[in-house]
Structure formats: structure tokens, C-alpha cells
Symmetry: C2
Subunit: 649 residues, 2 copies
């Protein structure tokens, strides 16, 4: 345990150096032991970054017994595969026990995963998908700034990882937002799985960061404590550096450092030592080679491995205010209703020293209607540019910092482009609110590259995401206020076009006064009849018009609106199926969307019924939404005809 | 029509300059007309890049009547929203008619989409999702080099687009592969939708390209033909430039150039002029303002708008050789079988001056078993580093150039991370073969960030992709040879672990001699019985063991292997359902995977039957695959018990 006051002392004392040396020896031993015991893992990069990690942990403000103390400095490890080094150091500081690490590493049911996870106290962010850690670190550093916490965020990255494009995006974001409390550290061992980084894919690391406006400090020997401390201290105090800018430390290191026969060998990136070699390594480190067999016995005996610790990120209390009501004669788009609700939320919640409701935009502020929030609380509006990968990951990380974070862009960018970022956020227990506009063929003239017709198919794979699809501006208002008020990940989707307000049969707003949005509860827009349209979102007006056409002909059918796609109102679907045949209608691929979901409910409930699916069955064109819809059979007359024919079968 | 021999003349003649001026006037007019007629579109960037496009099209080797002539120079327009400028120039050269453009622009059923698409002759690549064009251009430039075609690829990009991380990946790739035939052109008008690029997200464009090792030429006036020509010529001839390196031209331009009241206004990025303003603009250009009304009439009258032209990219004839057979006693992984088959394909097809079978890797050559192909034909092995977004898009583009392209990495990177790149490739009519290893919980100790449990859920949204999941090494061999032999996009997925060979009841390899893989045909691994397990991939051995346990107890059930997920053998599923209850088993989220698909077949076929789904219902941990499977109920004893209980219900 070391606590160096990096902002007060100019160098490490000889006692501290000796202490670091002893810590290093124990940690290196744990790296060898853990990977050999697990018969898998990444010892090479763990050893190359160990000195840097040790100096960093010695210097940060930390409370191992209270790992999520708000005043702490953060350490994000983006190359999650160096988990042996991270766990080894955390064990040194008492965040977790050596026993938990060595008996549980890479073992089902235990906390110490192959890639670092927050279920291990002291780990700030689950990583493993390379290139996302700097974005998460940007989110944390910006959160510290917004909350007025004088603390640092330090992000360790591999050098192979510098190839990922998202890192370039995060770099620019850090510069734009003046994150001078952010320190990135690259473990420059010049090796990746495939061999030399120069052969696999050369990156001029320092030049690239400099081009992005960063301060860059080169540490010629990344295994020298004094050199490491002096560089870290310079970054910490921002000495002789461009003010208001983040800082990169490049540590020139050696893969497998400290074990003679591992040094500089790419194969140890991802391969553990066999037991005999591990014993040799322990001897070289001045440790007892018998430790391996002892730990092997303890590991074999530890049948009840430690369970993962619970992680729950804070979520703020959000005042949602009163819903706005759009009258039956109003014609507007759901986007504007979203923007209005978001502006209300900003007014109600962002008056304190730190805003509570944040909006992330990717150069589409006007299109996604974030101008209201922007003008009400400028520091809550976070414009990321056309950098969706970074924006998604950064928003996910900020949503774990006590903010209600809205991330908005077109569906193609909000889901298809950034699915893997949301997946990692979901695994991190984030509370992200994705509000996506311009979904489906309703994007119109922008054409197929911009048509998001797969958002349910994608997001339905992520266990932590709710999926809500409002039918009109009123329901949008209710849903946006709802998602702001609850923790967890939520997706709210809408099209682009203006639409009328959905009304009851007697012409009153359906989602007006007295309506309350309840997840998992569908809306019978029209009830009764011997068959049912089941629909949601932009398709609703088309279905209601089909309903009217049928009614005129004396054919009574129901219309069920599934604004809550996940959780799904299975009872309502069963009820519809028991009443008669079903036509599902959606601005989405039917077999991965509502069409597929309805089939699953019928089979799981054991209800046999005829179902027809209408939706997007081929890439759409570029034109007016109504024309694009018509080409796929989403047209009132066609829908009515299809329903009639189904009924009469 | 202009054909300047850029490699022979040192400057433009006064006739050529005059001609460019006239072309510019007509094209600028078309930009104004098309967007005002469509009431949407992007005139601002179209005007800022028009001079550059005109000089480029004047200089390239082209055959407008034979737009896909192999010796042509390529022009990829990555910021697809400047389609009005592109179509205007293509109309100038006769690739399409002015009438087709102005009556069909942004109109359902017509070719001239809002973002450029290949259905317009002369367009090389569909774009619109920013940041992907340079990757596609890299693929084309590398294809030219591999095929020994002495031609250039020129990629136009917006400056806002420089924010996208994928551009950074593509830059490095171009440097690594020595693409000195690649010229990137950035239209530096300093404006994006949200306003000034400096305010939205600053990028030091020239510094970033220089840091990546590119040649950079700055054109201070991107509207001056002489300056443009001289810079393009320097890049073309590689004069005073770093040899073997790609070149960037940065054109300093003005948004809306040429129409006084549009110049420098961000709003014209994505907004057309209202008719009155359009007429003013036409007057300013020296054109007849009456053109607008004339074209409006013609557009209104053109009820039968031109249909999109067919695009079919070449696919090579591939010799597939004889399948390898793995004996009943062999235990290996499907990855090795893939690697062996790929090596065979390389030996059989890569002997000519240009290879036919290419392998794209993302720093996982050893894990995805591409070493065989690499050693057989080194120039066919394309190592992209940890740059999956670029790799996927580049591989997609190369698959349209007469190669059989295999793209291999872990499932999380091959699908979840790169879904949107595959989506765009699919829309471009690519012939990509994604062979993904390490799918599912079978990735084991690498933990949840590496667990790809959603590949069907994702790829099932892409209309052009087949999805194949071999059950063992023998079936892998057959499927790999099959996909190499056919055009179109195919996904082949497999786990990480070694497994036994699937055998018949009497112990012979099931997929041995005499077996032929047929898409859309399922395999009855065990037939008969009063219930059926339906499964695929890594779950097969677990199900076969459950089958054995049940058989020992006298319970006869069938086992149906769905190696072809898409197309799906609906008849086989119906047959199973008619025989009795079904248990689906998969290393995937069931409701987005086989579980959901089976339900849809039952409903569409009108067969009522009890179905239970076993699969991944929560994020897995880090440990041995068998332990992770057991935690989700994928374990022979549990599967047998579940089947028994379902039968006895």
C-alpha cells in the first residue's frame, strides 16, 4: 500500500522505491500464477504495463474500502485483457483478496474475468472490446468537471489498440471539451497478437495525438519508477504543457518485462506459461516456485468460488413535470414533442450547480430537436460531431455518473452503427436513454443507407434495454418523461415525418389527459372486432386509416398499439389472437420485429391463429415516405384489403 | 465532355478552361434545380465540391458508355449527400440523362437517390453513412494493384466526415499497403450540418493525414481550375511526394460557391432553395430562371420514372477441390477445418498473376486459422490490424472486384462491431464471405465482452446475407467450399473449442463421403421419435449427448441440425412439429435466434405445437465453455430432463 502525494512531492523516496519494487515482485508473481492456474490469459502485456500501473495506483487518491468514493481519481484500463496486472495491483491495495483473484481468475461464477469487469472492486469500466476505454474515460473526466470534482481520470491503453478508429474520435472530443484532467497512458511494447505493431499495422502514436492537439510526454523507459513518476507528475500538474488540453504518456516498454524468457515475445500476449516455465519464472522473480502447486491445490479445493460483487450505478431523481398535451388538431412530429419534453426536463432539473439531464448529439442537433435543451442549459448539451462510436460509448459512461443521459441521432447511427458500443454499456450497467429519430422508411428521400429498419432486431439482443415506440407526439411526451425518471437503458424510437395526433373514435387525443404510460402495457386504439391490426410507431396512422376504410365497409377490427416493444404485453397479443386473425404492420423488417415477436407469443401461449406480417421486406428507395411505404404494402387500402382477405379465408 | 490527358499535359488550355466554365454553369444549375424540384437534398456541399469534381472527371480515364470498363480510374464519393453534384457531372458526361436526373431525383422508384447509388451509371459505391468511402476506395485501389491495372482511385470526402474514426483506420491501411494509386480529396468548406466544423468538432485534417504517413497537398482555392489541376496532376504523377504513399488533396472551398446568397451558409448543407430563391440563383448563374417551371412540369408529367439500373458485380470461378474428411475419431475445431479448406482454395485458385481467394484478418491470423492461406499466397492475405470497421468495409468493396473475399475475426468483431459496414456492403451488392470464429459462450474465458450471442439476430436483418452454422469440422469444410463457389454475401459461424466429429448412429462421420451441403436443407442427425431437438453449431455435441441419455432411458427423439439458418428449411421444422414437441438449443439468444425462427415457421404454417427454447438468456461469465453452458441450461442432463418433461406434459 502506497499513497504518494503526487501534487506535493517532486520525486519518489528511496523507501517508496523499495516498496514499489516489492509490490512489483508480488504482482508479477500473481500475473504468472493467475494465468498458469487458469491455463489462459494475457501475461505479456500485464508485465509490460505493471510498472506504470503501480506508479499510477500509488499516486491516485483512492479509498479501497470505499471503491466508488466520489472524490477518487479514476483508472480505466481499456486493454481489458491485462486483467492479471490490474487484479494483482488491486489485490495489493486490498480492493480484493489475493485468494479471490488466484482461485477465481477466469472461472465461471467468479468475479475475476478474463477481461476486467466492475464486479471487481476498483475496476471502473468493463472493457475487452478494444478502443472503447478512452471514450469511457472522457465521459468520466467530463463528469468530474461538470460536478466540480477536482480529480483525474487516467486511461491505460495498449499500443495495438491505437489502431481503432474510435480512439481518434475520443482524442478529438477530449481536446474539444478541454479535458485537462484526462491522462492517457499507452503501453508501447510494439507487440500485438499478430507480432510487431509495425508489421501488423503501423501507427505513429505520438504524431497522431499531437495532431489532435494533445500534450504528449514520452517515457523512454516505461519500467523505471522515477521516470514514470516524473512524467505522471508533469501530466498531473500540467507543467510546461498546453493549458486546457489532455495529456498522453507513451511508455516505451517490453512485453513480458521481468521474466527473461518472456521478454519481447509476442506469443505471451495471449498465452500463459506452462507450469514448469511458470515455476522458473517465479524463481527468477525471487519467489517460491512451490507457490504454483500450493495455489493449484487451493484453487481445486475452492468449489464455492467467490461470486461477483453487485454494481449499481447511481441514478438521479428527475422531476418530470406535467405532460404537454397536443390537441386533436395538431400536426407535428414526434421529434418536436421529444425536444419539447427534453427542454422541460432541462428546465426542471438543470438549475443546480451541475446539470442532471444531459443531451448527446452527433452533428444533428436541429434534426433531433435538442436546441431547447441546448439553450436552457448549454453545459448539458454535448456535441460530439460525426463520431457516433465515441459518442455512444462516452454517453454510456456518463450515464453511470449520476446523470440522466439522452443520446440522439438518426436510427442508422443510433443503433446499427453503434450497437456494439451499446452492448458494452449495457454490460456496464449503464442508464442510457437512446432517443432515435428518423427511423424506418419514414426517413424518406435520404434513401436506403439512412433507413433504420432493424432497430428491434438489434436491440432485442441486449438484455438490459427497454424498447419503446410512441405512436404520436402525445405518447412521445409521456414516454420521454417516463424514461427520464427511471434507471436503466431505454430506447425510444420515432420517425421523421409530421403526423396527426392519435385520437379516440370520438376525436379526443388518445394519449391526452388521464393517460399514463406503463411499460409492458399495449393500447387498444380501437377495440372489438373479429380480427386485429397490431402495430406501432410510424405505421399507426396508416393502420388507423385502414381501420376507417374497413369500418366504412362494415368490417369491425381492433387496433392494438405496441408502444412498449420490450417489455411486451403478451396478454394483449394473446387476447387479440383469441379474438381472431392478426395483421402486424410495422416500419421494420417483420421477422426481426413485431412480426417475429407476435409469433413467439402465440407459440409460447399455445394459441393457434392466422397471422400476416406487413413490413419492410426489401431495402427501400429514396422518395416520399408514403411512396416507399406503398411499395412495401404499407398503405391503407392495401392493409384493409389484406385484412379482409385474411378474415374471409 | 472533356478528356484531359493529365499524365501528358502540364496545364489546362484556355479552351479546356472555357469548357469547364460552361460545364460548371450547367452543373450548378442542375444542383439548384434538382434539390428545389425534390424539395430536399444538399445543394451547399454540392456546390463547394463541384469544381473539384469537374476537374477530376475531366482527367480520369473513363468510358461513359461502358461505365464498368476495367481500365477506368475510379471516383468514389464518400459524402454521398452531394449526389446533386455527382449526378450533374455524370449527366454532363452522358452516364445518365439530364432528364432522368431532374425528373427522378429523390423520387421513389427512380435511380437518382438522395445519396449516391451504383444504380446510377458512373457511381462506384453507394455511400451515405459517412466515413466508409475511403475504406471502399482502399479496396478498389488495392484491387487495381493486385490485378496489375495501372489506374487511380480517387475518393472525395467531406470535411465533417473527417471526424469519423473509420477514416483514421483507412488512412493507415492505405499507407501500410503502399496505395500510391489512391488520391483522397477533402472538400474543406469548414461547415457541417451543425455549423462551423471548428465549433462542432475540430479536426486538424492535414496534420492527421501527415501523421499517418500520407502526402498532403493543400489547394488554397478549391474553385480555381488551374490550381486544382496542378494539384491533382502532382498527386497523379507523384511528383515531389513520398514514394509508395497515398496522397491527400485538401481543397479550401466555400459552401454554396457560385450563388452569392448561399455562400458560406451552413443551412444550405441540407436544405434546398425555395422556388423563388432558386430562380434568383439560376439568374445569377446566367441561366434561364424559367427552367425551374419547365422542369417542374416535366417532373410532374413523368409518371413512369426511370427504374434503377441493374448492378451485378463480377464473381470469379472458384475451384473448390475435393472435401477433406475428418474421421470419426478426430477431435479438432471447426476453425482449423476452415483454415485447411481456405488453404486448399488458395492452392487451387491463387496460382495466376492475381490471386482469386483473399483473406482479411484483424490481428487474429492465428486464431482464425488464416496462416495456411497466408503462406500459400502472401499477397492474398490482407492484415488490417485492429481496425475492424475499415477491414469490413474494405473487404466488402474488394468482394465486388472479382475476388472471393473471406473476412475472419471473432464473432463480436465480425458481426456486432461491424454490422453497419456489412449493411452498406449488402446494399452495394457485395459478395463477402464472413467466416466468424469464437462465437457464443464457447469463447469461454474471454468473458461477456467477447461473447457473440446475437449474430443471427443481427444478420437476419440484412436481406442479402445467407447464414450457415456448421455442426462439425466436416460440415465446415463443405460449407466453406460451397460459399467460395457462389456469389453473394454469406456468413459462416463457428465456436472456438475442439469438438468430436458428428457421426451417424453407427459411428461413421455424418458429413463424410457422399455428403453435400445444400443451403436450405436441414440434417436429421437422428430421425424418428415423438419429439425433436432442433439445434446448430456448438450446441450440437451437447444435444447429441442428451439424445444418448434419453435413448438409454428408452426415450426416442429426433435431432435436427439447422446448419442453414438462412435460408431456413421450413419443411423440416414443420415435419418436426407435426411429429411432436420441440426443444430448440443454441449458443445464442433464443428469441432472436433459432427459437424465434421456429416460432415463426409454426405460425406461418399453421401448426400448433409445444416448443421450449434453450439458449443464452443472460450475459455469460468468464470460464470454461461447459461451465458457462451449464449455467444457461445447455448441458446434456438438463436438456434430456427438459425434453422428458415436455414430452410428458
Amino acid at each position: 500500500m502506497l499513497d504518494v502525494e503526487i501534487d506535493k512531492v517532486s520525486s519518489l523516496s528511496s523507501e517508496e522505491l523499495a516498496s514499489l519494487g516489492e509490490m512489483w515482485r508480488r504482482c508479477a508473481g500473481r500475473i504468472i500464477l493467475s494465468t498458469t492456474l487458469a491455463r489462459s490469459g494475457h501475461p505479456g502485456g500485464s508485465l509490460s504495463s505493471l510498472h506504470g500501473l503501480l506508479v499510477t495506483y500509488a499516486s491516485i487518491r483512492k479509498r479501497p474500502a470505499e471503491p466508488r468514493w466520489e472524490g477518487r481519481d479514476r483508472v480505466v484500463v481499456s486493454m481489458g485483457h491485462i486483467s492479471p496486472a490490474v487484479y494483482a495491483v488491486l489485490a495489493e491495495y486490498g480492493y480484493l483478496s489475493e485468494d479471490e483473484f488466484l482461485t477465481g481468475f477466469r472461472r465461471a461464477g467468479a468475479a475475476c474475468s478474463g477481461h476486467v469487469e466492475q464486479v471487481v472492486p476498483g475496476v471502473e469500466w468493463n472493457t475487452g472490446n478494444l478502443g472503447q476505454g478512452l471514450s469511457a474515460g472522457c465521459g468520466m473526466a467530463l463528469a468530474q468537471k461538470l460536478k466540480g470534482i477536482d480529480a483525474k481520470t487516467i486511461v491505460f491503453m495498449g499500443d495495438g489498440e491505437q489502431q481503432k478508429g474510435q480512439v481518434a474520435e475520443a482524442r478529438r472530443f477530449a481536446t474539444k471539451f478541454g479535458l485537462d484532467n484526462l491522462i492517457a497512458v499507452v503501453d508501447r511494447n510494439h507487440l500485438q497478437i499478430g507480432g510487431s505493431t509495425e508489421e501488423v499495422m503501423p501507427v505513429n502514436v505520438r504524431e497522431e495525438y499531437q495532431a489532435a492537439g494533445w500534450n504528449v510526454i514520452y517515457v523512454g523507459n516505461g519500467h523505471d519508477y522515477n521516470e514514470l513518476f516524473s512524467a505522471l507528475r508533469r501530466a498531473w500538474l500540467h507543467e510546461d504543457l498546453i493549458p486546457g488540453r489532455p495529456t498522453l504518456l507513451v511508455l516505451r516498454t517490453v512485453m513480458g518485462k521481468g521474466v527473461s524468457f518472456m521478454e519481447g515475445k509476442a506469443k505471451y500476449h495471449g498465452s500463459p506459461l506452462p507450469p514448469e516455465d511458470a515455476k522458473k519464472a517465479l524463481s527468477e522473480l525471487g519467489l517460491d516456485p512451490g507457490l504454483l502447486d500450493q495455489w493449484q491445490e487451493r484453487r481445486d479445493a475452492a468449489t464455492d468460488v467467490c461470486k461477483a460483487h453487485e454494481v449499481e450505478h447511481p441514478y438521479p431523481h428527475i422531476e418530470v413535470g406535467e405532460p404537454r398535451e397536443y390537441g386533436a388538431d395538431v400536426k407535428t412530429d414526434c421529434r418536436s414533442a421529444y425536444g419539447n419534453a427534453l427542454e422541460d426536463l432541462a428546465k426542471l432539473n438543470n438549475g443546480g450547480p451541475a446539470p442532471k439531464v444531459l443531451g448527446f448529439s452527433c452533428d444533428l442537433e436541429g434534426s433531433v430537436k435538442m436546441q431547447g435543451l441546448h439553450s436552457v442549459s448549454p453545459n448539458a448539451f454535448i456535441e460530439c460531431g460525426i463520431q457516433e462510436h465515441h459518442a455512444a460509448a462516452c454517453a454510456g459512461a456518463m450515464s453511470c455518473e449520476g446523470f440522466s443521459v439522452f443520446f440522439s441521432t438518426f436510427g442508422v447511427f443510433a443503433v446499427a452503427e453503434t450497437y456494439n458500443q451499446h452492448r458494452l454499456s449495457d454490460q456496464n450497467g449503464s442508464h442510457l436513454k437512446i432517443v432515435s429519430t428518423h427511423l424506418g422508411l419514414d426517413v424518406g428521400e435520404d434513401g436506403p443507407t439512412h433507413q433504420s429498419i432493424d432497430y428491434i432486431g438489434l436491440l432485442n439482443n441486449l438484455f438490459g434495454f427497454s424498447i419503446f415506440m410512441p405512436a404520436d407526439p402525445n405518447q412521445t411526451d409521456h414516454i420521454v418523461r417516463h424514461v427520464a425518471s427511471v434507471p436503466g437503458n431505454c430506447f425510444v424510437g420515432m420517425g421523421r415525418s409530421k403526423m396527426g395526433v392519435v385520437t379516440t373514435e370520438d376525436g379526443k387525443p388518445f394519449f391526452g389527459k388521464g393517460y399514463k404510460f406503463v411499460p409492458g402495457r399495449a393500447d387498444w386504439l380501437r377495440s372489438g372486432g373479429r380480427a386485429t391490426f397490431i402495430t406501432y410507431g410510424s405505421a399507426v396512422p396508416y393502420v388507423l386509416e385502414a381501420w376507417r376504410l374497413l369500418k366504412e365497409k362494415g368490417v369491425e377490427v381492433g387496433v392494438l398499439n405496441m408502444a412498449s416493444i420490450k417489455p411486451l404485453d403478451q396478454d394483449a397479443i394473446e387476447k387479440a389472437a383469441l379474438a381472431g386473425p392478426i395483421v402486424t404492420v410495422e416500419d421494420h423488417v417483420p421477422h426481426t420485429g413485431l412480426g417475429g415477436l407476435v409469433a413467439q407469443v402465440l407459440v409460447s401461449r399455445g394459441v393457434a391463429q392466422r397471422v400476416e406480417n406487413v413490413g419492410v421486406t426489401h431495402y427501400g428507395g429514396s422518395g416520399k415516405p408514403a411512396d416507399l411505404y406503398a411499395a412495401q404494402g404499407i398503405e391503407p387500402g392495401a392493409l384493409a384489403a389484406r385484412m379482409e382477405s385474411l378474415i374471409s379465408e
